[in-house]
């Protein structure tokens, strides 16, 4: 049990507990807080893998902007606890084992091919410069497209959330 493995298990446990908490909480703000915990745990895992820039971007963009947007909307819409549902309890009872089966199948497929995907060289530190080179040389076209996409999204969000002209 070397230190990286220990850190992995701690962060993985944090992520899974956060995800389970997202399902079990009844108030959306608590689910949002659990999701933030999951994202921070994932950022820690990215750091463990040596992807430092992606970890920082994950916290800044996902944890610091997208989730803030979610929290704002929950506050503005005054979302309350989830109401009692008329849906069938039996369906829920049958659904949970099926969900576990889904996860098990995915995990088993991955674990089964474990010997085929191996680390070619030990994962080294990914310099931000190499990432930037790749982003602006090989992937420059998708990069410019995403800037266009963000512009469209901003316009869409403004138009959608406008008050109707009385």
């Amino acid at each position: 049990m070397n230190p990286p493995l220990l850190v992995f298990f701690v962060l993985a446990a944090m992520a899974v507990i956060g995800a389970i908490n997202l399902i079990l909480q009844r108030h959306p703000i608590h689910s949002a807080l659990s999701l933030i915990v999951v994202m921070v745990a994932l950022a820690g895992l990215y750091l463990l893998m040596g992807a430092e820039f992606v970890a920082a971007v994950q916290i800044i963009v996902y944890g610091g902007a997208i989730m803030v947007l979610f929290v704002f909307v929950i506050m503005l819409l005054n979302a309350g606890v989830e109401e009692h549902t008329n849906a069938s309890k039996l369906a829920a009872l049958a659904g949970v084992p099926l969900a576990v089966v889904l996860m098990g199948v995915l995990a088993a497929t991955v674990a089964g091919s474990a010997d085929r995907v191996q680390v070619l060289t030990p994962g080294s530190v990914a310099p931000t410069k190499a990432l930037a080179n790749l982003l602006f040389q090989d992937f420059v076209y998708p990069f410019e497209l995403t800037s266009f996409l963000i512009l469209v999204a901003i316009l869409g969000a403004i138009v959608l959330a406008q008050r109707e002209k009385a």
């Binding site: 944890g63 902007a65 506050m75 931000t128």
Partner: protein, 404 residues
């Protein structure tokens, strides 16, 4: 036992550094409140705290005791978990950001190991600081919402909208610094400003003056200080997002705000003013006696002021304090090795002190922005200017043929 300590010495040294730094930062916070009250008071032609201890120096202790002993009511109908989480989050994030700041260039030799001043030097140091700033919006937003009351909700929403808006200008304004340093690490940024040929002109403030102004203004808005403190000003929304918070939880928000002030001052000194670099040329070795030249006269003045102080307590404490300060100054002259080691931290701490004074000065002088003025300033002026700064810096570097 000894070999357990020897094997895990790195972790132990880091833990000791963390404890020491935490203690120092919290003490500096406490005396920063004293400093602010004194300076603002003198700017307004009044005394400020001067009853509790000589020159009011024990006022922070009295405030601390008040915060600990006051009644801590929890309003009805609050969302308990979020209500308790918000100040904890704000405080934890603010204190974490101090861990990334380097305080000196040279390491200490302790038990045969090189111990650097500063807890860790991340490759992505600056980016990690921005990540922590991004997360600190939650402390404010959740505090406002969970208080189950109108004024905190409005104050919290306004304050977090303000913080999110100025975050963009904050990150864009340091792009120029990053381009010229070529690295996110704070030590490398200081190293890039150390030019033996240009000396003080190599500091980032000269080519990046626009970036510095944008960064400073955006950082003041991020920390919710005057002139951007509408969401928490007393005459406006009662007390903004921390209205419903009483003694100790309010103290946590308070400490978080002052700690982020300290962090911003550290960042300004490191990124734009050369960090631990001396403004004098390296050949002027007599400037190495500047710390002693400041400490010894100051210590003698404190002794002189204390000898005829009003209270007996002051007449004992102040000369004692003055003697300690004078002894420190004399020590630096006697031990040149210590003097050399202390040069870097001395310059960094003086620059941080100057920026903290500027923060307090702005509080005593400037009026507040109205909220719509604040938002239009952030989006329509600050963000385009910082973007323009980034583009200009990048073009200049490209034309010069530099770049990595």
């Amino acid at each position: 036992m000894i070999d357990f300590l020897a094997q895990h010495a790195d972790i132990l040294i880091t833990l000791v550094k963390i404890a020491l730094l935490l203690f120092i930062v919290l003490t500096v916070n406490a005396y920063l409140t004293w400093f602010e009250r004194k300076v603002v008071a003198h700017m307004q032609s009044r005394w400020g705290p001067h009853r509790v201890g000589p020159h009011g120096l024990l006022q922070p202790l009295a405030d601390g005791a008040k915060f600990l002993l006051k009644e801590d009511p929890t309003p009805a109908g609050v969302d308990k978990f979020t209500y308790y989480l918000a100040p904890l989050m704000a405080l934890a994030l603010a204190l974490t950001s101090i861990a990334i700041i380097p305080f000196g260039p040279d390491p200490l030799r302790i038990f045969g190991r090189d111990v650097y001043l500063g807890i860790v030097d991340l490759n992505i140091g600056l980016l990690a600081l921005f990540a922590i700033t991004a997360l600190s919006v939650y402390g404010v937003a959740l505090a406002g919402w969970s208080s189950n009351s109108k004024y905190p909700l409005l104050g919290g929403l306004r304050s977090s909208a303000q913080m999110v808006s100025y975050e963009l200008a904050l990150t864009m304004s340091v792009v120029g610094v990053l381009l010229s340093a070529g690295s996110f690490s704070l030590r490398d940024i200081i190293g890039a400003q150390a030019s033996p040929k240009l000396g003080v002109l190599g500091w980032n403030i000269f080519p990046q003056i626009l970036g510095f102004l944008c960064f400073f203004v955006a950082a003041v808005a991020e920390t919710n200080r005057v002139p951007f403190d509408l969401p928490e000003a007393e005459s406006e929304l009662v007390a903004g997002f921390h209205t419903e918070y009483a003694s100790f939880k309010f103290a946590m928000f308070f400490i978080a705000e002052y700690t982020s002030m300290i962090t911003v001052s550290c960042l300004c000194s490191i990124m734009f003013f050369g960090g631990w670099l001396s403004p004098f040329p390296a050949s002027w070795t007599f400037t190495h006696f500047l710390p002693s030249a400041i400490l010894i006269p100051f210590g003698l003045w404190v002794i002189w002021d204390g000898i005829r102080y009003e209270t007996i307590f002051g007449r004992i404490i102040l000369p004692g304090l003055g003697t300690v300060i004078t002894a420190l100054g004399a020590l630096l002259i006697v031990f040149p090795a210590v003097n050399e080691f202390i040069q870097g931290p001395f310059w960094l701490l003086s620059k941080i002190f100057v920026f903290l004074f500027v923060y307090v000065w702005m509080r005593g002088t400037l009026p507040r922005f109205r909220y719509d003025q604040l938002m239009s300033f952030g989006w329509k002026l600050l963000l385009p200017v910082s973007l323009a700064n980034a583009v200009i810096t990048a073009s200049v570097i490209l034309v010069r043929g530099g770049g990595h």
